[in-house]
């Protein structure tokens, strides 16, 4: 068996996330280019990942809130070994982005040359449609 040498990476896959009644509104918003988080109606905390309970105060009263979709890289890695749907997609960038509003979310950095990636780099959200009623919020370097 031979291994093809230096084949160009495939486009980043967009695996379909599991959607349930608790998260449907979030995913529907992504297909319209809007990024939502939850906010606690009692203590005002922003909550990521979105859920029905506030993990800060225990309140069951949480509301959806749209955020700007801008933030900064909190940490990142260029992964050279994709698995599952990402097999063949490497190298790709996995990251945590800290939104301007505060929460840190796992994502991919796209449209970026790895050479200038750095912690603290300003980024903005882009949505990659999965084709199944949900789009993945990924981030690209902010164009000034």
């Amino acid at each position: 068996m031979t291994t093809p040498a230096a084949s160009p990476p495939q486009p980043l896959p967009a695996p379909v996330p599991p959607v349930n009644p608790e998260t449907r509104e979030y995913w529907t918003a992504t297909t319209r280019g809007r990024l939502l988080v939850k906010q606690c109606a009692d203590c005002d905390s922003l909550i990521w990942y979105p859920r029905a309970i506030c993990p800060q105060c225990g309140s069951l009263h949480t509301d959806w809130r749209e955020v700007s979709g801008r933030g900064r890289i909190y940490s990142y890695t260029v992964n050279h070994r994709g698995e599952g749907p990402y097999q063949g997609a490497a190298p790709f960038v996995l990251a945590y982005v800290e939104l301007d509003e505060g929460p840190r979310m796992m994502t991919n950095i796209v449209e970026a040359d790895g050479a200038y990636l750095t912690v603290g780099l300003p980024v903005e959200v882009v949505f990659h449609d999965t084709g199944e009623g949900a789009a993945l919020p990924r981030f690209r370097p902010l164009r000034s």
Partner: protein
């Protein structure tokens, strides 16, 4: 209630093989169970408590209890916190023994990830976080790479410093005839190994091995009647480290909480520790844990390990003298069991002679399960020599 001195580890056994193509998972659980009981001078019929985690095949602890013929059980526990489970199990067993619920507790770990790979349960699409993490392609290595990058950013930690952890483990592994990677390596060799998920290289990662291990924890009166030297359980702590609703901090582990709890119960301080078994899924796991347990100031772990502190027998903090998960064995991708076993060897004076810590009286064992890049579970044990 304190568990200090209320229970003893009387038996410990590590499966000698690292690839087992011709056995079932249950069969390897049986091999290590019988091995640990024989080490203790006990038999299966003496066991009245059974502890296992997610690697045990079947229905919680019940399928394996049935398979092993553990007909005298009064206590079972299948706490599943990944690789730290078995460290936690020792604490749970000691507490149950202290409460009089049982007197002879058997803990087993076994699996065959090399010979019979199965999907990781952590990738369950039913996990509440699944939709917000799995679609972005996280892998085990990349999660720890995120933690390493942030630690480097905040504290100036370098890849060469992380490599020093692997170098120390490899120095130890050369004395272990069962070690999967027995050849000493240099910092340069670690840095020259392929980047898997930057900044982590292949040699920053633990091995993947078939195998397992088992422990027997007993009540003091049973320990006193056994022929072998036993190890005293002095203290235990546990703590999950969570993502806190979007406030994740990648620079520390749950050992910042589990460590002080264990040390307090044991009545000792980090300065009293002669030997440390530190969970080493990746080099960054060791670095953060050493800081979190208080062996050096937060952020100074890089300088600490680069100084040769981890090298046995004479470093400031001799660690993982069997070669650890980085070089010896990381059965079923779960390193907690082998961490306890090597601490038992040290406290019995039965580690490999070149790495046996002289007059080893107090050991710390730290386990970490889950992922430093998301949510994880720390468990810390303080163990003492029989007369400690």
């Amino acid at each position: 209630m304190s568990i200090r001195g209320k229970a003893y580890i009387a038996g410990a056994y590590e499966h000698p093989e690292r690839k087992i193509p011709d056995k079932s998972i249950a069969q390897v659980h049986a091999d290590v169970a019988v091995g640990a009981l024989a080490d203790a001078g006990l038999e299966l019929r003496d066991v009245d408590a059974y502890f296992c985690a997610g690697d045990a095949p079947g229905f919680g602890p019940i399928s394996m209890a049935d398979y092993l013929g553990l007909t005298n059980l009064t206590y079972t526990d299948s706490t599943e916190t990944g690789g730290s489970s078995y460290v936690a199990h020792v604490g749970h067993a000691a507490a149950a023994i202290a409460e009089g619920k049982c007197r002879v507790a058997l803990i087993t770990l076994a699996g065959l990830p090399r010979s019979q790979p199965v999907p990781r349960p952590s990738a369950s699409s039913l996990a509440p976080e699944a939709g917000f993490e799995q679609p972005f392609g996280p892998t085990t290595v990349s999660m720890y790479a995120l933690a390493a990058r942030r630690h480097m950013h905040e504290y100036g930690t370098t890849s060469a410093q992380l490599a020093a952890i692997k170098v120390a483990a490899s120095e130890h592994a050369q004395h272990n005839p069962h070690a999967m990677l027995p050849k000493p390596v240099t910092v340069e060799e670690v840095l020259d190994s392929p980047v898997i998920s930057d900044p982590l290289h292949r040699l920053d990662c633990c091995v993947i091995s078939d195998g397992g291990g088992a422990l027997v924890v007993v009540a003091p009166e049973i320990a006193a009647a056994l022929p072998r030297r036993t190890v005293k359980v002095l203290g235990h702590g546990e703590a999950p480290k969570l993502t806190s609703g979007g406030r994740i901090d990648l620079t520390y582990t749950g050992a910042v909480w589990s460590g002080p709890r264990a040390f307090e119960e044991a009545g000792v301080t980090p300065g009293d520790v002669d030997y440390a078994s530190i969970y080493d899924s990746f080099t960054i796991t060791v670095l953060q844990t050493i800081e979190d347990l208080g062996f050096c100031e937060k952020g100074k772990g890089g300088a600490f390990v680069a100084d040769g502190a981890l090298v046995a027998p004479h470093g400031r903090l001799p660690f993982n003298t069997d070669g650890g998960g980085l070089c010896n064995n990381h059965p079923v991708n779960r390193g907690g069991m082998t961490k306890v076993i090597e601490a038992v060897r040290q406290l019995r004076g039965e580690a490999s002679a070149p790495v046996q810590v002289p007059d080893c009286e107090i050991a710390v064992v730290n386990g970490n399960g889950g992922s430093l890049g998301t949510r994880s579970a720390a468990a810390t044990l303080i163990l003492g020599r029989e007369d400690a």
